[in-house]
Symmetry: C2
Subunit: 766 residues, 2 copies
């Protein structure tokens, strides 16, 4: 009985003592260092590249340019492969390029005996460019005369739309309509551990890559594609990972290190990005422009919602239009009764490439939707929470996008609980009196809600596997493809295994490193999928191993299996003699009896063909200092319906992290770009205003536990959701406090200054 | 169809290009270096040890002595655990000792930041001893007043005897009897790669050990015992290994590196023995003293055989008496009709500890037995080959020791083939004429034969496992506990898997590194067991995976399974449409179809409760230079009944290696000891006379293929056997050439000089 308890993380001691070993701690003796030469311009074509000086430098082992690389284009996005060509990611990448598409593009790579020599060699490469004006936004990229950045007919990556009901008619008949335009900025994941990968060739001429990745099995496939190798000749190992947030759901360095070791006779080669490279040249969050309109009746009924989304994927598609598509699909389960049209387009530009980032497009869409909901509630003079309670989904509602019932839904209860926890009604009353327009500091409350998925089905295949072994000491080793990247998935999986096996949590060991040669297949850590999708193979493998254990106990005790149970790691026979057998006693016999027994294992792989919806909301209480244009978070709390909570303290940890990340993205973070040159100004942690501990308020977290029937343990996603509704809740609270709507992120002091000036709350400085 | 073909070794390219990565190539950054302080005397007790100088040296992180270590005694011998306490190895070891039992005993260990500092620190430790006279041989060790080296009542480790028939009566009634005393020397394995092990603690507070070992799973158990840890909290990884020959079937360094990392908070620590340490302080081959007698009739019938064996295990038991016991058990299947008494005793002494070495006691016994057979044949005037042909086993004979039939036996055919290949009859005739006593160079022919086992059953449990995975590209990954240590087992296993799956050999990848967290359980590489024992789980897993593949193909092709076959990696439907499906097509569907399929795997563990006998013989043609006391091998050939040959070129490789090792041990190798002090003189490759390439004759190898019914592919052991009969064949050839019997190994020029002097073939020098 481990589910529902706050078991200590399996890696707790190693993490707090700094003993965890990441990829950089596992570098082999003699590993060569590779470093990219990156373009100093945002858009142009290389007319000449002279590497002779670099090649002549002692300690330099090789320099490669576009001329030297395989010419098979590949996609870097970490999705499970699609049998349907239309379901595949855009293959627009090569290992190096001679056509520069953003500031930081990879144009050459140096391999040297150490980092310093590699750096020195980079300085010796002479590059000449034909430079072009950068295309940075929708208007520039989609202009008729715009140069086409990839081999397509325009800079449009893709577009799509869905609709149910008749939103135009519903909008027409609604008592009132409100509309707005919402914009989100470029932010970067800023995981603690930068991308790093090492590769060498093993005794069987396979390429082995150790990498800080969220997706070892997908990584393997993409490397194979990029090099035109057989997939099983590639082996990817994932050690402890220091965060990813979707950035390591792209295959960025691995094909290159694999290529380098291959070309250099199998010697180990590593690429260890520094922070500046990681921020510039891995992935960022897609900036969205959302034109949104909604129609409501005076009674608070949401009748219609239309969204027109433009997503800027930057220089390369990466996850491309999947982001805008996935984000749209998470909306209907929240407001399932409204008529909706969702229209989205993704285009290329000369910005850094955007990819997956926690929330996968939803933060952008939720910002627009929950802001427009606020506008609608204000328009009809209804309380924001009341308005949402009238319109959100209930269990049994039909998700109009999938035509399937919503199998569990606690969003109403979340809203009610959050309203109570933040003291909504009393504070609303208080602030009505205290928010005198002559006061500099004004207070306000905000709310926003969301729904989210559990994995990628039916857009993608959902497959997971688990293997379990009974050890000689009676403890259980569990192998899963599900990838621990710091979120605590191993601990949750150990709890699940213990539950169905009938052993204590402490008796379960989860093999944390994935190794594609031996790890059960699983696409990896993304889409808040793991706890949900892994529940099926883990529960089945646990049941299978339990049956084998009881079967062997029956052989040892010479009694029918039906009389045996396994509890707390002890087999108990409900016979008159009440025999017992510890798992260690049983295991020692199974391993070492000369005539009977064998190693007891269970090995299960299976697919999930459901996708539950998680729900939740943010309540926030802010004080805005008008003159300083500064927003203080007095109180912030998320309430989640994440189904049954496997491990409360780990779930709370996810909420804390999600709120912190959401708050930071809402209030300060933005990658800044020179609008004339496309040069990125602030790809470093000094100039990029990420929130740090002093910026953090106390963070509240609560749960409404439902039991999701399509999940073996009743659990639903909690990885990405906590981030989603933070920004709109704060935006709505600032609006509540100041009557000023901030419709572009981040809501930094600078943005508030501009908005407050425009609203004449403050005088513009001369 | 891969069985029986000389497929190229899977690691061939990596090995010949030097790209293979051994343990020392995998050392983690920041790994500390540990070095033993070894006793400079052979026998004594430490009265004082002062480590303060070493501890004060900058760069020294710790110094441990006997005071600091766990006091749980353990056995280092690499046997699968026995449920029967009487079947367990002698637990006479601690990590360090204050009672010095041999020259080189481990009395302290230093951990430092690098090798040089560690060396320097060793020089700063001051040790005072009470020194005792060393006990080096049977007489000294078993003398009534001898000090007892371990906590037992005497220095006897164990003794046993078996008997069948009435050898005394048979001896009495035999036409004639011959007897002799045969002695074998201390030799060392001298594998290319010295012992090395590294340990660290992982994120889950488990200890991970990377080690050059033959027995990763056993290693794990012994470390756990030595440290009193749970076995599943220990993880052992075996990378490429540069030979072991039984020496790495002892757990020598692993418990110590595990202890060090544990005590030092999980930091990585390595011990990398140098050649001098490896030769002195790992294991050696047990020197045997064999008093042997046989009774024969004039017609050539072997009537009786009695052996009285004394085995000197040195300072620690290690495999102890198991060696003498196992050696005795391999004799009855060769001469099953004779009445036999085999009596053996093993004692401690102050020599380096003896352990497992290729042949596991049999080389010593075969030397005695096949020498005495030669004496018997000479005594009755019968041709040596003829004499053996009269007495060796035939298929269907009863093994008197196990009361089981010999299920395959080609020894007669081996002898006949070898006789022909060496040109026995003609040369015998030629040499009779040419061997004039006045000639300095004389020629002779020798023969010797042997039988050997396939694994340890019924002395030990025989368990093995295999897991197979169908990859996306249609290739198969195979995981086995069977341990590749250079002998080529991975390649043989790939052939077996390909055979029963119905795929090409090139489509099979065997995961060569064992990792006890994920590798199917298997005791490891020893007792020539692997090809025999692994055949069962490999064939069963292959059949299971094949069935799953065909079942899935039936689903895809919508036809009955019965109409499908898998040949050369292609599923063929015997339907009117003759549909085909490549394994890649099938696998891609199984992995990526959104609704159906899963990863196809098979995971089999099982036990073997049979033990077949392999047979073989050596024929050798020598020329002895009497004056130079030098023996030249003109021709040497082994003929083996190793059942069905899985891979002829790999089998031949084993024969070449075995003959080379046998020849070297027969002709020159000996660890020399000062009889007064017990100091070892020549634990280095300059003074220890191991044969090198110029010493090697052309080596012949041939096979008599039988089909062993208890082996899934009909194969029997070939790992240790080629060594066994080399020394007695050469001894018999020298005897044939010179009429001088050399009954002690090695038959070095020095030994020949003494023997020829005694026989007055040469004049002793003044």
């Amino acid at each position: 009985m481990s589910i529902g308890y706050s078991e200590q993380r399996l890696d707790a001691t190693a993490k707090v003592t700094g003993r965890s070993r990441f990829t950089s701690d596992l570098i082999m003796p003699g590993t060569r260092v590779a470093r990219y030469l990156r373009s100093k311009i945002a858009h142009g074509r290389i007319t000449n590249i002279d590497t002779s000086g670099a090649k002549a430098l002692p300690g330099v082992e090789a320099v490669f340019t576009f001329e030297d690389i395989p010419k098979t284009p590949f996609a870097t996005a970490g999705h499970a492969y699609s049998l349907d060509p239309k379901g595949r990611d855009v293959e627009d990448r090569l290992l190096l390029t001679d056509y520069v598409r953003y500031h930081g593009d990879e144009i050459a790579i140096v391999v040297a005996t150490d980092h310093l020599i590699a750096e020195q060699a980079l300085g010796l490469i002479k590059v000449k460019y034909d430079e072009y004006p950068p295309l940075l936004n929708h208007q520039q990229a989609m202009a008729e005369q715009a140069p086409i950045l990839h081999q397509q007919t325009s800079n449009k990556v893709a577009e799509h739309q869905y609709q149910f009901g008749n939103p135009d008619e519903a909008m027409h008949h609604a008592d009132t309509t409100v509309s707005g335009c919402f914009q989100t900025q470029m932010v970067q994941h800023c995981h603690l551990e930068n991308q790093i990968a090492m590769a060498y060739m093993d005794d069987t001429d396979h390429i082995v890559i150790t990498s800080s990745t969220q997706i070892p099995h997908i990584c393997r496939r993409i490397i194979a594609q990029a090099l035109s190798w057989e997939i099983s000749r590639i082996r990817v190992v994932k050690p402890t990972v220091g965060g990813g947030f979707g950035n390591k759901q792209d295959v960025v360095l691995e094909p290159m290190v694999a290529f380098l070791t291959w070309k250099l006779g199998g010697i180990p080669v590593m690429i260890d990005l520094d922070r500046e490279e990681s921020m510039l040249s891995t992935r960022i969050r897609h900036p969205f422009n959302v034109d949104i309109k909604c129609g409501v009746n005076r009674d608070g009924t949401l009748k219609a919602l239309t969204l027109d989304v433009v997503s800027n994927t930057g220089a390369y598609a990466s996850h491309g239009h999947s982001i805008a598509k996935a984000a749209g699909s998470k909306l209907p389960p929240l407001y399932p009764k409204a008529a909706v049209r969702y229209k989205a387009m993704t285009h290329y530009s000369n910005l850094p490439a955007a990819g997956a980032m926690r929330g996968y497009g939803s933060p952008q869409i939720v910002f627009a939707v929950e802001s427009i909901m606020e506008e609608a509630a204000r328009n009809i003079g209804m309380d924001s929470v009341e308005f949402r309670l009238r319109n959100v989904a209930q269990q049994g509602d039909m998700n109009p996008l999938t035509d399937k019932h919503i199998t569990s839904c606690g969003i109403r209860e979340c809203l009610i609980k959050g309203r109570e926890r933040i003291g909504w009604d009393k504070k609303k009353e208080d602030y009505r009196h205290s928010n005198n327009p002559s006061y500099n500091k004004r207070r306000g409350l905000g709310v926003a809600c969301f729904s989210y998925g559990n994995g990628t089905y039916p857009a993608g295949v959902e497959i997971a596997g688990a293997r379990m072994v009974l050890n000689q000491d009676g403890r259980i080793t569990v192998q899963v493809g599900a990838t621990e990247i710091g979120q605590g998935s191993d601990t949750a999986i150990a709890q699940m295994a213990a539950e169905h096996l009938g052993v204590p949590f402490s008796a379960v060991h989860v093999v944390s490193a994935q190794d594609t040669d031996v790890t059960p297949f699983d696409p990896g850590s993304f889409a808040s999928r793991q706890t949900y999708v892994i529940s099926k193979p883990v529960s089945e493998a646990a049941r299978e191993l339990r049956e084998k254990i009881l079967g062997y106990a029956a052989e040892m005790l010479n009694c029918p299996v039906s009389e045996l149970t396994l509890r707390d790691g002890i087999v108990v026979a409900e016979t008159p003699e009440s025999q017992t057998l510890t798992l260690k006693e049983l295991a020692m016999d199974a391993y070492y009896h000369k005539q009977r027994g064998h190693q007891l294992t269970a090995d299960v792989s299976c697919k999930t063909t459901t996708n539950a919806s998680s729900f939740g909301c943010t309540f926030v209480d802010v004080e805005v200092d008008i003159e300083l244009c500064q927003t203080s978070i007095l109180n912030i709390i998320n309430v989640h319906d994440a189904g049954r909570i496997i491990n409360p303290i780990l779930a709370e940890g996810q909420v804390h992290g999600g709120i912190a990340m959401g708050l930071s993205g809402a209030m300060g973070e933005e990658l800044l770009v020179n609008p004339d040159t496309g040069i990125i100004y602030n790809n470093n942690l000094l100039d990029y205003k990420i929130a740090t501990m002093p910026d953090m308020p106390d963070i509240g977290s609560d749960f409404v536990e439902t039991t999701e029937p399509t999940s073996a343990y009743g659990a639903k996603s909690i990885g990405e959701p906590p981030l989603l509704s933070v920004a709109p809740a704060i935006r709505n609270a600032i609006l509540d406090a100041t009557d000023v709507a901030i419709n572009r992120l981040p809501m930094s002091p600078k943005a508030l200054f501009n908005a407050f000036s425009e609203a004449h709350l403050i005088q513009e400085a001369n």
